[in-house]
Amino acid sequence: MTNRNEKKAGGYLLNTLLSAAVIVLAAMAPQLGASVKGVTILWQLCYFIILACSLNLVMGFLGQLSLGHCGFMGVGAYAAALISLAFQRAGIYTEKSGAAFMLVLLICILAAGLLAALVGLLVGIPALRMKGDYLAIITLGFGLIIVNIINNLPFCGMGGLSQGSAAPALYANGLGFVAKQLVSYLWIPVVLTIVCVAAMFMFVRSKYGRAIMAIRDNEIAAAASGIDVSHYKVLTFAVGAFFAGIAGAIFAMCSSTLSTASFNFTSSSILNSTFIVVMVVIGGMGSLTGSSAAAVLLYLLNYTIKNGKWVHALPLFMRQAFAYPMLVYSIVMVVVIIFRPHGIFGTYEFSLYNSVSELFSGKRGKKVPVKEAAENE
C-alpha cells in the first residue's frame, strides 16, 4: 500500500517526453513542408478533442447530460476574438508575431476560458437543480439562449464578425491567422490540447474526480458521505465550460470569420452540440482517451465522406446515402451502442507507461498482473 504511487514517476517522464516530441514536430511544421490543408485539419482536430473531453467531464464523469456545450465554445471564441481586437486597436500589437502578440494571445485564451466558465457557472446554478431529461432540455435551451444573446450584442457584429458583414473592419486583423500562419503557429493548438487534456486528467484523478464520480454513481450516497452535491455539480459544469471556451479560442484563431451559426445545437457541419455528445458516447463515457479517439475518428470519417475520392467509386445508392453524412453517423452510433454499449473505450484510460512496461515485460516472458493493468494510471 505504500508503493501505490511509485510507478507514476516513470509515467510522467514518458508522457512528458512524448508530448515534447509532438510539440517539436508541430513547431517544425513549416520546415517539414506541411500543407495548409493538412494543418487546418490538425487545428480543427485540436478543438474537437478539447471539446469532446470537456463535455465528457460533465457527461461521463459527473453523469449529467448537457446539450448546449457548443454555446460555451461560442462564448470563448467571441471573447478571444473581441479581446484581441481591442488590444490591436489599442496598438499593443500590429502584426501577428513577437512577444507582445504572444502575451495578448495568452490573455485571450485565458479570458476565453474564464468567461466561458463564468457563463457555465451562471447556467449551471439554476440548470443543475434539474435531473435527467429536464436537465437535457434546460441545457439545450441555455445553449440556444447564449447563441441568441451573442447574436444580438452590438459589439459582437450582430450575427457575425465576418469581413463581409456590416462592420468590415471589425475582424480584418483580429485573432484569425491567415493560411501561412496556420502552418507556422501549429504548435499553439497542439500545446493547448496537451495542456488541457492533461489538466482534465489531473482533475478527474483527484478529490474532485472522486467526488463527481461518486455523484454519478449514487447521488444520495454521495451526499451521505459528506460530498456537497450541488457544489461539485456546478463546479464541474464550470470546469467543462472553461475548457470548451479554450476550444472556442482555438476555433477563433483558425477561422477567418466567426458566426454564431457555428455554435448551434445542430448544423450541417459536425461542429454542433449534438455531435459532440455523439463523440462522447461513442468514445466511452468516463474515458478521456475515448473522447479524444472518437473526436479524431469521427472527424476523419466526416472528412473522408465529404472529400474522399473513394466515395465516387461506390454504388449509386450508397453514394446517395453518403450525401447525407448524418445517416452514416447514426449507423455508426447504432452499431457502437449494440456492440459496445459503454462506448469504444468504456472507462478505460490509455497509459503509455503501462503499455510500454507491458511490452518489455512481455519480451522477458513476464506477465504484468491483471490488477496492475486494470489500475493503469
Binding site: M1, N5, M202, K207, Y208, R210, A211, A221, S225, T347
Partner: protein, 257 residues
Amino acid sequence: MNEASVPVLKAEHLGISFGGLKAVSDFNMEIRPGELVGLIGPNGAGKTTVFNLLTGVYKPTEGEIYLYGKLINGMRTHETVAAGIARTFQNIRLFSQMSVIDNVKAAFTKDIKYGFGAAIFRTPGYWRTEKELDDRAMELLGIFGLEDKADAPASSLPYGQQRKLEIARALATNMKLLLLDEPAAGMNPTETSELLSCINTIREKFGIAILLIEHDMSLVMNVCQRIQVINFGQTIAAGLPGEIAADPEVIRAYLGS
C-alpha cells in the same frame, strides 16, 4: 457540563407529515457516547424515515435534533455528515463503478484541504495528502478484511462485503454517530455473526455511538444496550432488550392481537 454527560444525539418531539399522513410523530431519543441503541418496529413503522430526518434528507415539520448539544435541524445531508452523523442504507448504495478504495476515499472529500492548483499541478502537498488518504483507507478496509480487494470495482464484491464496504465508507467520514439501516438484511447466519463482531470491533476501536435499525431479532437482542420500538410513527416502547422482548404492546405490534 463535562463531555461525557452531553448526549451524542438528542431528538425532541421530532415529527414529519407528508400531506395528511403523519409518518413520524413525537419521536424522542437520547443516545449517550459509546452507546449502541436499536430502533425496531414492523415494516412501514417509520424507522427509515427517522434516519432520513436525522441525516437531513427530510426536514422535520416539528421538533428538534441536537448533536452534542448543537441544533442540526434543517441542515442539508452533507452538512449533517460534517456535523458528525454518517449512515448506511437499507438497499446498498455504493459508488458501483468506482474501485473499493476510491469508495472510501470519496468519503474523505470534505476533509481534503488541497485545491484546484494542487490537484492539477500535482504539488508535493497533493502527493502527501493522497498518500495519507491511501494509508487511512487501507487501514479502514483492513478492519473489514477488504484490503486485497482495494482495486476491484465495488460492484464486483459479494453481497456481504458490499455491506461491509458501506460501513467502512461511513466510518471514513470521521463521524461521532453511525446510523446502520438493516445491515444484516439479506445476510446468511455466518455473515450476520461476522457483522456482529465487526460492529463490536468498530465500537471498541472508534468509541462511537451507533443507532441500529434491524429486523434480525437475535442480532438486536445481542448487541443493543437499549431498544426503542416504533409502530405507525409512534414510539410504543423503549427500554432494555429484556424488557422489550416481554412487552405486550411490542408483541401485539409484531404478531397482531
